[in-house]
Subunit: 150 residues, 2 copies
Amino acid sequence: MMAAHKKETTMPTMPCACANLRRAARSITRLYNRELRPENIEVTQFTLLMALDRTGDISQGKLGRLVSLDSTTLTRMLKPLNKQGWIQEREGDDRRVRIIRLTTAGRAKLQHGLPLWKRAQTRIEDTLGEPSMKKLEVLLARVEAASESK
Amino acid sequence: MMAAHKKETTMPTMPCACANLRRAARSITRLYNRELRPENIEVTQFTLLMALDRTGDISQGKLGRLVSLDSTTLTRMLKPLNKQGWIQEREGDDRRVRIIRLTTAGRAKLQHGLPLWKRAQTRIEDTLGEPSMKKLEVLLARVEAASESK
DNA sequence: CCTCATTATGTGCATATACATATATCCAGA
DNA sequence: TCTGGATATATGTATATGCACATAATGAGG
């Protein structure tokens, strides 16, 4: 006969797309942070270093738009990076603007973190496989587009 | 001739799966929060109400495992819900445990929020379409599985 | 019944994140 | 040149999130 016992499954999928996305984001964030811990940097910060490495000098506002972060959020997120000496800020020609740049130390931190980042990244890639990986990327971009159009 | 001018595109996709996921999560979170604002509740809180509605009375720890949230995070996330009177906590038989339950007010808030939540949800569903929606769900679950296996 | 390993939750600390609002600039007209 | 609207960033406030660590309670052996 059936036991009147609720199995403790890991969990069911929710009907809410936002909940599912946030949940996956939390999970994967923990993974990347675990790997990056030895370098004493978190994935959110590492992501900013990556972005800055690609863009070169850039204003806070532009960077925010680029990574889809409220620019006032960036004001605070940049502080720890500054404290660590990974970035530097200077005034732009337009004196309202702050131009951000990766420092030598920042570039070094990025280099040192890369292998650790790669471990986490590879884990996801190996599990999903190239095609699924690409598909996910596309779907995420579509979600973002749908979310932002006014 | 070509202008030596960098177009200000909205942005390129990053090579980091974690960055892409977090970014999409931020975007979609803003969408759901915009819709839910009239009911004065945020999507993270709304998600917890939804979860509690499905599980019925449940311990903090189990709830955390269910939604993939560190149980100590839950300690704090539950506070605003309590303040609003949407949930209630009581001691379990095991006196270490806290049992959470949705109150009548909580259930009402859930009901009132549903149409607003649905607006955001529909927007995503309509943009992606049923098959992509399902695909995304599956991919997110796989990401989570990959992230959690030790 | 006592003790120790295990388990559930709370706290300290740090960061992430957004919105409303404030402040400093810039700039297009009058 | 003066002025009001637009733009870039900062601050106040609130919540989200996790880890290391602290505390309380349970339960298995001895």
